[in-house]
Symmetry: C2
């Protein structure tokens, strides 16, 4: 048996409405997004990444950010997060009363340049202003470190880079870091090294894993993260969100698949799997797509 | 980091030509099977489950067993295995010179009855005759313990049942046992418990894992198996083979995805991933199907 001390409880941060739907070519009606969020929290999810406040020229899928936030079926005990890459986005978001905001950095210099048009250091300066404003408004700031395991332009990324970006984020007052394998190239021991680098700067309960399933490695990577005691993971309902760097490939790990793993290990999530599967079926129905969760396909196939 | 001592080398047993193609509704030409086997060994696979010697009334997909064995592109260092459920099958197989034979039992009484029409104890008696004949012919016998983690009729299966079947197989002279999660319901700690039960009767190098990816758990289960030192796994090129118990669900774990995991962990497999991906593309082309390997889809999508 493994000698690891697995956490007894894990928190999943549902990123489907934001990270997932942002990658869908097809626009989704505001009301469908709100309905999805309602179904996700009814299934037991307590942290939901709702939308992002970026220019609709860059991300037209999130142009209805204010309307989605206004229509949120707010429920006690559920935290609603939004992405705010800069001060302008933060100010627009503030009026919609998010519980948390997310700033989105990278561990790869090339990705930072191509994705947000500035160097890593410049992005941190930009985030510092957002952090200051968030602190004054009493809003928690999460920092995402994208390309923490590999970059579509630079290839493999060293754990030291992840540690460096985590330290920069710590310095500007970011309260939580997410180690994100944006292109899904990571494998368990590399993931443990990347997380360990972040854990040098943040406590266990303020480090999360965000794993794409592009190469099918996400659940193995989550299991390896649990061995370090990491107990917060981003997941996406029905695996919403593809991979812009490999056509036809899978994107975010499916929430359903992670819940199945954790339940099978006797780890509490507070999530009702059948209701979760129904939420995934709802949004895939809206999109007219097959479900990307293997657990959902297996459970639905049994009934069918 | 994990305290486990991971093996430095892993052997993959390619079961696509048999376990995979047996589950395909569409018949595959004998020549295409032979071509596939040639491509698999060219990619570096050294153990291949070729076909089964069962009644063509039950498994018409394997009716060309003698022809496939006759046409094998035999290569030094590669072992060719065939399934022989009974003495009649073994005698037919013997003439085709397999390196190994496989007998197929179950850890679930209900599955044994429904799948091979006899109790577990009766199946062992039947296998005992096969083992005796194989010993005389100098052929190694592998025993598969299907439904080792769960059964479509009985639900969860206790590790003690796996240990019991392993002990029965040991008693009749089976030399290697495969712990098979036939319906893919297992999760890492349960898989470790099932393997540990088998390891009470067989040494580490004679216990293998066979995990279906129906619920997406296969790679996490393989990682957990590696933590026990288990270093032999059955895998199926491009994920060939569905799940007869859940329509539309995934079957065998894809060889490509396992090779990617192992390479990423610095574990030697002797397999050339690009050639492996091409072998998978070949057989999916023959079947006119999308590739079931996430690694293959990601690598092909990058090029495309």
């Amino acid at each position: 048996m493994s000698n690891a001390h697995f956490p007894s409880r894990v928190t999943l941060v549902e990123v489907g409405p934001r990270d997932g739907l942002q990658n869908e070519a097809r626009p989704v009606a505001t009301q469908a997004k709100i309905e999805l969020i309602g179904r996700l929290q009814a299934a037991g999810l307590t942290e939901i990444e709702v939308t992002s406040f970026v220019s609709p020229r860059w991300v037209p899928q999130m142009a209805d950010n204010t309307q989605v936030m206004a229509g949120l079926p707010r429920q006690a005990g559920v935290r609603y997060a939004v992405l705010t890459p800069n001060l302008k986005g933060f100010e627009a978001a503030l009026a919609t009363r998010p519980d948390e905001i997310v700033v989105f950095g990278a561990a790869s210099e090339a990705f930072s340049q191509k994705n947000i048009n500035c160097s890593i250091s410049e992005s941190i300066e930009r985030f510092a202003m957002v952090c200051d404003s968030a602190r004054k408004a009493g809003i928690k700031v999460r920092g995402a470190i994208s390309c923490a395991l590999g970059c579509p332009y630079e290839g493999e990324v060293a754990p030291e880079r992840v540690g460096w970006v985590a330290s920069l984020m710590k310095d500007i007052g970011v309260q939580h870091v997410g180690v994100a394998d944006t292109i899904g190239v990571g494998t368990p021991r590399k993931v443990q090294a990347a997380l360990a680098a972040a854990l040098q700067h943040f406590p266990l309960h303020e480090v999360s894993g965000h794993f794409h399933d592009t190469y099918g490695q996400a659940l193995a990577n989550i299991y390896a993260s649990l061995e370090l005691g990491v107990h917060t993971f981003d997941t996406s309902i029905s695996g919403l969100g593809g991979c812009p760097y490999a056509k036809g490939a899978t994107g975010n790990v499916a929430t359903e698949d992670v819940v199945y793993l954790l339940e099978g290990m006797g780890i509490t999530t507070g999530i009702d799997l059948p209701r979760l599967v129904q939420a995934g079926e709802y949004i895939r129905g809206v999109l007219g797509q097959a479900n990307g969760s293997r657990v959902a396909r297996a459970l639905i196939g049994q009934r069918g």
